[in-house]
Symmetry: C2
Subunit: 108 residues, 2 copies
């Protein structure tokens, strides 16, 4: 079966945020991001793709569009297609994020 343990799959590096792919189809991809304290995914946008961030562990500062908010475990945020978005681990522990993007920009 296509099942995975998200925390066991997560990678971290002192150099930068690490992305690990869990699943992908033509419709979407699902990654897990591991961010050490202070690491970030810089603000960027995708014109045609919606993204979801779900906080598995840790906490961070999320930017979507013009807004910034702090999110912790079991909180979730939507960055709709075209909206700029990014995240920084502002906490003292590792930040683990489940990330969905649809449609899958790698399968065009």
């Amino acid at each position: 079966m296509n099942s995975k343990d998200v925390l066991a799959e997560t990678r971290y590096s002192p150099d930068k945020m690490q992305k690990t792919n869990l699943f992908e189809t033509k419709n979407f991809f699902c990654d897990v991001y591991g961010l050490e304290p202070g690491q970030e995914q810089k603000v960027h946008s995708h014109s045609d793709n919606d993204k979801i961030y779900f906080v598995v562990e840790g906490s961070g500062e999320f930017l979507v569009g013009e807004e910034i908010c702090d999110l912790g475990p079991n909180q979730i945020v939507l960055a709709p297609a075209g909206e700029s978005h990014g995240v920084r681990n502002t906490g003292g522990v590792r930040l683990t994020l489940l990330v969905f993007m649809t449609p899958n920009p790698n399968r065009r």
Copy 2:
């Protein structure tokens, strides 16, 4: 900002599994399912839509295609388009599932 607390959004009922929508666009929907012990989502399939189940809290027995497995917190499973799938709360506590489906079958 489009952020939500998944556990605060989850509803449960003694009658049956409850679905609460968190986000949707033309590309996907994201729901949270609340299942009391013994409740289930019966086996079904979607010919064109991929579904992800992510266990937020609790545990359950998942069927995808011909396979059955038990999953607990922070485990995730893909039911690709066309594969039959379902879930039953076989534990003694509430089961909370984050669910993604793409493309969004409600926006055709």
